[in-house]
């Protein structure tokens, strides 16, 4: 109260020096010097959107950045230089990072190979294993909901003459173990099933699949890019022979990943990159020290924070889901609600068109479908494999909750989503018909 009197008294004086402290002058300065918000691709938003797309990528944790920076500044050596300090300290850092990655998945550091990302690790696993054992093994088993890089590698193998079985999934996204068992042939050389699906977040029954593969002596590869550091992973319990890890999904830098390759029993692959024989000949090329150090730091932080993050993310997911369900009906969760990773929530909103929903949600960074396929117009193949109707598949939104998401962001996302969905439904004639009780699926549309 006193400050208000003081400021009005000062303003009445209106000397130019004092004017600079008054709010009126500040408002004028704001309009002329700073752009009010961002205008890009024809969309105008007041500030940077809140980020709820953690499955596409995640922000780099400050602790990870702190570990990486020295290797961009003064400790820039090539880890393969054997003759001077720069090489020795780089090599020591790479080996430390290797042990950090290994301890997250209960592996030995000798079993970790650094690659440029989970896509490269998947390629090495699928193509490398089959090319190595191509005399005796001609069959691969994978699922219909795998990541595009695995499916594309399998297609490449099919063109080379291998046989591939794409296992169907149930409507909750999980494969049926009996179908899997009956698909195994004597010449099956690889089974590839991803641990946590990037689009719908369901967790496959890894231990059971691993047990079956161990019984039949088939190498088991899993794309664990979305799972590592978020749910407890143990390569011994899961009986995996190969595992792909990606750094930028666990708050690490982009451009680096790892491949776990079991030593007992040893799995052999044919390398894809020819060169100086780095990384035990599996992946030649200079190991990017700062990226690898970042990945190691990210894995170490993830190991320490896993319990805390998981509790928090579960609570945030419940808040998001119950917030939306309390105000909207016709909301469907895609994928199993029990066997899922809490940070991935894929919702379909009935009687709403997907593109318009996303266009109205510009203040929330979410995605529909996966980042890899959102460029194309067709509905996500994962949702189609679940048996979701075309119209529901088009209207699916994937909310990704992560370590840095706050309760206020979740509440704001709920508010914006509900408002947008209500607005679209109000305009939708289909929704009017549904409210009147007409069954849409059994309408006889008359031809004009």
């Amino acid at each position: 109260m006193a400050s208000k009197l003081l400021s009005t008294a000062l303003r009445r004086r209106s000397s130019p020096l004092l004017r600079s402290f008054s709010t009126a002058a500040a408002a004028v300065a704001h309009d002329s010097s700073e752009p009010s918000g961002i205008s890009i691709k024809g969309v105008k938003i007041a500030g940077r959107p809140l980020y709820l797309d953690m499955q596409a990528t995640s922000p780099v944790d400050p602790r990870v950045l702190d570990a990486m920076l020295p290797y961009y500044l003064s400790q820039f050596g090539n880890p393969h230089s054997r003759t001077h300090l720069y090489g020795w300290e780089s090599d020591a850092a790479v080996e430390l990072a290797r042990s950090q990655v290994a301890s997250l998945i209960n592996a030995s550091p000798k079993e970790i190979v650094f690659t440029s990302g989970a896509t490269e690790s998947n390629n090495i696993s699928v193509k490398g294993v089959m090319h190595f054992y191509k005399e005796k093994k001609r069959h691969v088993i994978t699922t219909q909901t795998e990541h595009k890089c695995v499916l594309d590698s399998c297609r490449h193998l099919q063109q080379e003459g291998f046989d591939v079985t794409y296992l169907p999934v149930n409507s909750d996204g999980i494969i049926d173990l009996d179908t899997f068992r009956s698909a195994i042939r004597p010449d099956t050389g690889l089974v590839s099933v991803m641990t946590v699906n990037n689009e719908i977040g369901v967790i496959q029954p890894m231990e059971e699949i691993g047990r079956i593969c161990r019984e039949r002596n088939i190498p088991f590869h899993t794309d664990a890019a979305q799972a590592v550091g978020k749910i407890p992973i143990d390569v011994e319990k899961m009986n995996v022979s190969l595992m792909s890890i990606s750094a930028h999904k666990i708050y690490g830098p982009k451009g680096v990943g790892a491949l776990y390759m079991r030593r007992r029993p040893r799995i052999r692959v044919e390398p894809q990159m020819s060169g100086g024989g780095q990384e035990r000949g599996i992946r030649s090329g200079t190991v990017p020290t700062p990226l690898v150090v970042g990945m190691g730091a990210a894995c170490e932080v993830a190991k320490k924070e896993m319990e805390y993050d998981e509790k928090r993310i579960c609570k945030l997911q419940e808040r998001l889901l119950s917030g939306i369900r309390a105000r909207l009906d016709g909301v469907v969760v895609n994928g199993s609600e029990e066997r899922r990773y809490a940070g991935n929530l894929n919702l379909s909103f009935a009687y709403v068109e997907g593109e318009s929903l996303l266009m109205g949600l510009k203040e929330v960074a979410v995605s529909s479908g996966s980042a890899c396929t959102s460029a194309s117009l067709e509905p996500s193949y994962v949702l189609r494999a679940l048996g979701v109707d075309e119209d529901m598949a088009h209207t699916s939104i994937r909310f990704g909750i992560g370590r840095f998401t706050t309760e206020e962001e979740v509440d704001r996302a709920v508010e914006l989503t509900v408002r947008q969905v209500e607005k679209l439904r109000e305009m939708s004639p289909l929704y009017e018909m549904v409210k009147e009780g007409i069954d849409i699926k059994n309408i006889q549309w008359s031809q004009h």
Binding site: G37, G47, R48, L50, P62, R63, R403, F404, T405, E409
Partner: protein, 91 residues
């Protein structure tokens, strides 16, 4: 041996560390990192409130001190590269 050489960590040192942490985390320019570091600091101190053997207490304290250094450095780095437009949560 190392823990015997360190002075025993008392309540006032811990509180002063917590205050330094909160002062530092307030300086982060990024909304998400600021909220996270504030929340995580408070939760970590709360979780370690009842640590009993003095060696565990001094280990946690020195871990806290090194994390504070990381936070100080990163607060500077983040402010050097702060985006011109803030997050929509801060507007």
């Amino acid at each position: 041996m190392a823990s015997a050489a360190l002075p025993s960590v008392g309540r006032s040192e811990v509180l002063s560390l917590l205050r330094s942490f909160l002062r530092t985390t307030r300086k982060f320019e990024d909304y998400n990192v600021r909220e996270y570091s504030k929340r995580r600091t408070i939760d970590a101190f709360r979780q370690n409130k009842d640590l009993s053997p003095p060696s565990a207490v001094s280990a946690a304290f020195s871990d806290g001190e090194s994390q504070l250094e990381v936070a100080r450095r990163q607060a500077t780095v983040y402010s050097l590269y702060a985006p011109k437009v803030k997050s929509i949560m801060e507007i």
